[in-house]
Amino acid sequence: MAASQPKMRDHTSSARALAIASSVLAAASAGMVFQIYGAADGVGVIDVLRSVLIFLSTWWLAWGAATALLGLTSRQRPAPARITGPIIGRSVVIVPVYNEDPRITFARIAAMDESITAAKAACGSAAQVDFAVLSDTRDEKIALLEQRWFARLLARQHAEGRMFYRRREKNTGRKAGNIEDFITTSGAAWDYAVILDADSLMEGDTILEMIRRIEAAPQLGLLQTLPRVVGATTRFGRAMQFAAGFHSPIFARGLAVTQGRTGPFWGHNAIVRIRAWAESCGLPELPGKAPFGGHIMSHDYVEAAMLARAGWLVRLDDDLEGSFEEGPENIIDHAKRDRRWCQGNLQHAKLVAAPGLKSWSRFVFIQGIFAYVAPLLWLAFIAASIAAVYWAETPDYFPEANWPFPVFPNDQTPKAIGLAVGVFGLLVMPKLFVAIDAIFTGRVRGFGGAGGAFRAVFAELALSSVIAPILMAFQSRSVIQVLLGRDGGWPPNNRGDGGLDIAEAWAAGRWISFWGLGGMIATHLLAPVLTLWLLPVALPMLLAPLLIWWTSRTARPRAFPVPEDVTTPAVILRHAAVLSDWSESGMEAKLG
């Protein structure tokens, strides 16, 4: 392992240099083109401001594109030689829950337990893999259900002594505090912990392979898998599920290449070395009040940074399959989750200069902050452009006193169109390249073949372009709320069918419609020449409630195909079987 480190470091350094150089070059080109365009009638402060805004916004898009290109040009991390020896270490799969439906969550545990048992039987392993449900549930009725369903789980799996349940009376530190409480109370009983979310599912084979890999690499502190989104049924959910399955592996590989030994860690579907975690990941409370002070919300990035700071390797193995999670089914649930992530990422501003962190960990914090600030930069650019047109001086067609012919200003329209096409290209090209790559690698087979995959890629592009202004509005509101000091709290995740009625969509999206309408009226009055340019942003905003409602409707069965539609993974089938076995007869009714 030691011998491979310099090579890995060199590869990481070159990848970082390439990504930074190409993204800065693209951003600088955009900024310069815009400066030339804006300077046609003389350079003003607002032109410089717009050039800076276009530089920063384009850099963020170009950074995403560079990450995708790195992912496309890097190989999947080669699986280490098959480790066949017995597993020595003791492992625990930890499932933090917070007001979740215990029937569905515990059925997942039963499915994974059966899958692990089958995997152990197949390879003759006697590995110890226990489960611990760490409840932070606040709702007493759900807590009572948790205990009843856990008793049923124990009986079904004959798991007394290897499946555990405990509930905290105070959910100090939220999920990170929940895990910390478990580690400090019981952590020494195991060597490795597979950290899951309540909606995670992993194949037994995958869990055993993760244990083997972390056991074989003494420097490895954390091993992250790339979970695939499953179970989506709505138009929005299916589109996100397709994007996560089709595009994300490439983007994630690019991300892993640049992060090198420092990550990434996404908070779940990963295995950690418990001793490394205990000695490195004790999260302090940040000074001051929420949203910037208090408990660290986006703890996963920080934990990865702290493990790397302590010298542990944090690695993404994107060749590991059989790792699943669920995603939000509608724009409102997506926005709720994003509000939490936004606050967590902006809170990282306090951690960028934490002592001893690897420099790239600091850069990852900055990237996370930028992800939420970028929409505000685009909004600022739009506002500055309207102001620039409003304040622009009328061209002087007869600058020479005794010259009878008019002098027309240089037409800069081609530059403006070229810039817009370039910016749009940065958004679209990576996804098209991923699609072309998928044809050559044969990956399209799982996504409806070449035709099906391309149809889905274009449909996802169209859908994501249409809803982008709505997501931008939600993100901008989140950032402003955090900057105004409003704490978003810790709302539980909705894991229902995701369907919304029009009244719910109107309640959640009407403020976006008003802003869209206001923006259109203001543009028409102040800078009518920009009205058409603003339509792609303002129109979806105007129609926000309708789009929120429409995207939450159930999708056609074959829309946005993913491999799991054709071959349902075994652990998902097991989960469905357990759920069918545990029909809802009784337990909820008895509580009433």
Binding site: E160, R275, G282, K350, A354, S359
Partner: protein, 68 residues
Amino acid sequence: MSANIPTVARIPNVARPARSHISLVDVTAPPQAALTMPKQVLARAPGGMLRSLRSMFWTIVPGRRRLG
């Protein structure tokens, strides 16, 4: 492995009493096997921001080593 990493306190890993706030379903509670998890220092030292940004800049700027 973790040299030079600031922590608030380093306490040897010894068993300690069960957390009093865990009161429900003792039968199924995980085993008591305590592990210390010292709180890490994440607050920046005075002047730390500038140093961090400088160090980050030199890490991400290509060719640092070659330029000496």
